[in-house]
């Protein structure tokens, strides 16, 4: 919107994009599936949110002005509302074209979810037989109104805007976290309160209003907790920074220790899974984030650990079954993990980044297929895997998958270990060598760093952590199959590391909590079970979005974000050093 005028081309483009997003969400069946899940009883369903959430967002963004150095900033006007409404309207029209198309042609031969049922959902009607014109108009109207609201957000103050966002957010979050909240309330004997708040997992109207009011209030506070924590952690002094990070980690740890007894076994299960993935995320972070080696076959070490532990503990291991207690297997797991790290690492170590990625991926698949094959079945049970893994003996009791609370403790202990290893190594001679190698390999070598040795040590440490994760995994599941170790796991772990913030321990933790805890692992449920079916698709979207918008991750490593915003920083320094008249005269700095 230069010169304060509406940029109609941008509005139309955004509108069409909104339409495409809505058509896509409908065509993959998300709207229909989510329509079954109410958010506020009788008023709002998750399907409605899935369909329309993008409208106000895009409508708000279309009014964003590109702020150029030295250019006049125009105050928002009523035009923002018009632009927003136009975006919504165009999107609504595109969606209604879909409605008519589904009615006129039978598209189900190709697009399985474009059914009359979808039309019913979209037009809020009972019958789908005749195109319900009124329903279509309502659809366009809602979209337009939401667009206008989105555009109108430019007109209100920053504070009010945040309050509005918080209000909506609070209602959605409290409704979606119904499982957790009601479980916690029940632990404290407040079952009556649960019934008062929720019906069929959805918020009742009055509690919804209360929650909305709370959200409004919280949003009105000066700074949100999240930004305060971030400010707290972003201490310029590195020793203070690590000390503060450790403090936050300690607080999290205490919460984790208390959690299983408050949350019940289903949520402990989710936490245990999150812990195992976090452990592997930390291990991969050493390889990818610290040493800069893109390993796409990380699951191989996980599998090696799991199989080593399983062979040594299970009475049903086909070839060799000493039936050791779980504890005794740990040293063996560490040694074999280290050996496999060296074995995979040595041939690939001199390869360039991309070659290394594909070869490690190949190794991961070789390991999985070998465990799966009939050829290795006499040792590892082939597709049948190894069953009857006894769990972790504690003297008085044996911990297995049926006690997720205890498994969670083990996972937490291993995570703490991995976090300490990561932290200790990063701030040492070895870690500095990794960083230097990542920045410029040939110079690192000229500065006296044996890069082969350095890379291998990263590989080995990563392999050991993953194989420990595998050992815990086999005790948790009680039986392991080759299908548990598919390539998808390697990629999901990589996504955790990248989304969280490569090279940063807290970042990896955030990534694991958001992706595995909330969305769920590739085969494991997460908090938002509603999204279960679509989570891999959502993974993909998150990954692309993060790379385009925030490649440094949720909680970035300070060095990595320097790397990615190098130019901006140097440019800022340059701008700061030059009198402003010069820059104003020359326009955009070169």
């Amino acid at each position: 919107m230069t010169n304060g005028q509406l940029d109609w081309r941008k509005v139309i483009r955004t509108g069409l994009l909104v339409g495409v997003v809505m058509v896509f969400t409908s065509a993959i069946g998300m709207v229909e599936d989510f329509d079954e899940r109410p958010v506020v009883v009788g008023i709002l369903s998750l399907g409605f949110l899935a369909l329309f959430w993008y409208v106000p967002r895009a409508a708000y963004k279309v009014g964003d002005e590109e702020v150029l150095e030295g250019m006049e900033v125009h105050p928002p006007t009523f035009q923002n509302v018009i632009a927003g409404a136009a975006v919504g309207a165009i999107g609504g029209v595109v969606l209604s074209v879909l409605v008519f198309a589904v009615n006129a042609l039978d598209l189900r031969g190709v697009f399985v979810r474009l059914s009359p049922q979808l039309v019913k959902t979209l037009t809020f009607s009972e019958s789908a037989a005749d195109p319900n014109l009124a329903g279509v108009l309502v659809l366009i109207l809602i979209s337009t109104v939401l667009g206008a609201v989105g555009g109108g957000l430019h007109l209100v103050s920053d504070k009010l805007r945040r309050q509005i966002v918080f209000t909506v957010g609070a209602v959605v979050v409290v409704a979606l976290l119904e499982d957790v909240i009601s479980q916690i309330l029940r632990t404290f004997g407040l079952s009556a309160l649960v019934r008062a708040i929720y019906r069929d997992a959805a918020l009742r109207l009055i509690p919804a209003i209360v929650v909305a009011a709370l959200g409004f209030f919280v949003g009105g506070r000066e700074r949100g907790g999240e930004s305060r924590i971030r400010a707290y952690l972003a201490d310029p002094d590195p020793t203070q920074r690590t000390r503060k990070s450790l403090f936050v980690a300690g607080v999290v740890l205490v919460i984790v220790l208390v959690a299983p007894w408050v949350l019940g076994s289903l949520l402990s299960e989710i936490l245990a899974t999150t812990g195992i993935f976090l452990l592997m995320g930390l291990g991969l972070n050493i390889v990818v984030g610290f040493a800069g080696l893109l390993d796409l076959g990380y699951v191989a070490f996980f599998a090696v650990g799991a199989y080593t532990s399983a062979v040594l503990t299970s009475p049903l291991s086909p070839f060799f079954n000493p039936e050791w207690p779980w504890w005794y297997t740990l040293p063996v797991v560490i040694v074999i993990g280290a050996i496999s790290g060296i074995f995979v690492g040595t041939p690939v170590i001199r390869l360039r980044g991309d070659y290394l990625a594909i070869v490690t991926l190949g190794f991961g698949e070789i390991v999985r297929i070998t465990f799966l094959s009939d050829a290795a079945a006499p040792w590892f049970g082939g597709a049948g895997g190894i069953r009857n893994i006894p769990g972790i003996p504690l003297g008085f009791d044996t911990i297995s998958g049926s006690d997720p609370e205890y498994i969670m403790y083990f996972a937490a202990a291993l995570v703490v270990l991995a976090a300490w290893v990561s932290y200790a190594l990063l701030n040492s001679r070895v870690g500095r060598a990794w960083t230097a190698m990542r920045e410029d390999e040939s110079v690192a070598e000229v500065m006296g760093i044996d890069t082969v040795r350095s890379k291998l040590s990263a590989f080995v440490v990563g392999a050991i952590l993953a194989s420990l994760g595998g050992a815990l995994f086999s005790a948790k599941l009680g039986s392991i199959f080759p299908t548990s170790f598919e390539l998808l796991i390697s990629i999901v772990i990589l996504v955790i590391v990248i989304v969280g913030g490569m090279g940063n321990i807290l970042g990896v933790a955030a990534g694991a909590v958001v992706l595995i805890g909330v969305l769920g692992g590739p085969r494991q449920p997460g908090l938002l079970q509603e999204f279960g079916e679509f989570k891999l698709l959502i993974y993909g979207v998150i990954l692309v979005y993060m790379m385009l918008q925030r490649p440094e991750g949720l909680i970035p490593n300070i060095r990595r974000s320097r790397e990615l915003h190098h130019e901006e920083l140097s440019q800022d320094a340059w701008l700061g050093a030059t009198p402003s008249e010069d820059t104003a005269g020359e326009g955009a700095p070169a």
Partner: protein, 261 residues
């Protein structure tokens, strides 16, 4: 015996003969300048000595041992350090870290010490930091204090060159290879650096080979000047001998030897 003794060094890239049989030696405590027109093979010379590229032929004897074709890290460990013509720092590491990491081959604590934070590890870390600060203090207050924790890329061009020299010093070499240390510096900075090169030898005891284009610097720092052209040694001698040599003047295409190229 010479500290570094190079005989018949050859190196070709593709079909281009970058070094066509260079003989070279430097004695302990000497400062030798390598000059020559662009493309004469000066940087290739450094690249081969420092092990970035193995030589095709010839011997590189460092303290009596052939180091030709060894890995760069081994050569650095033996005691040869270098800087780069186009400054190559670790830009996102802090200034202190840049110098600390260069002590890698002089220290030995590994994964075990780091994880268990042993006494030996803590002592070594303290020593590394102390030495790093000592090396940085060589450049006055420029790279000290609040600079320690700044990333290297915020430094000015001249300071990057200084940091690169500091990083090379931190590997505790006997022989220092400086590749155009004054390139891109203004006259004042150049003059200061010329003085520092002298100090590097006198106070810190380094033997120095320096590639340089600025003849005033060459004149002021060198005990001996070696002229390369088209990958072969044209001549060598004192600055005065070389600067009046007909072949050298011709190699520089008739330009007066005193001007920058």
């Amino acid at each position: 015996m010479a500290m570094l003794e190079i005989t018949g060094l050859k190196k070709a890239f593709g079909g281009i003969q970058a070094l066509g049989g260079v003989d070279f030696h430097i004695n302990e405590g000497e400062v030798v300048s390598v000059i020559g027109p662009n493309g004469a093979g000066k940087t290739s010379f450094f690249n081969v000595i420092s092990g970035m590229f193995p030589p095709d032929e010839g011997e590189i004897l460092f303290e009596g041992e052939n180091i030709g074709g060894r890995e760069p890290s081994t050569i650095t460990e033996r005691g040869i350090a270098r800087t780069f013509q186009n400054v190559r720092l670790f830009p996102n590491m802090t200034i202190l870290e840049n110098v600390m990491v260069a002590q890698h081959c002089r220290t030995k604590q590994g994964i075990y010490g780091a994880i268990f934070r042993t006494e030996a590890f803590k002592q070594e870390e303290a020593l590394i930091e102390e030495r790093a600060k000592d090396v940085l203090s060589f450049f006055g207050s420029r790279l000290m204090g609040y600079r320690f924790d700044q990333p290297a890329f915020v430094l000015s061009y001249a300071n990057r060159r200084r940091l690169e020299i500091a990083r090379a010093m931190a590997t505790q070499p006997k022989l220092l290879l400086l590749d155009e240390p004054t390139a891109g510096m203004n006259p004042r900075e150049t003059k200061e650096l010329t003085g520092l090169i002298g100090k590097l030898r006198d106070e810190r005891g380094f033997t120095i080979v320096v590639i340089e284009h600025d003849m005033r610097v060459v004149k002021n720092v060198s005990d001996r000047v070696v002229v390369l052209d088209h990958g072969v040694k044209l001549t060598e001698g004192t600055y005065d001998e070389v600067s009046t040599n007909e072949d050298v003047i011709e190699a520089y295409l008739g330009r007066p030897a005193g001007s920058e190229s």
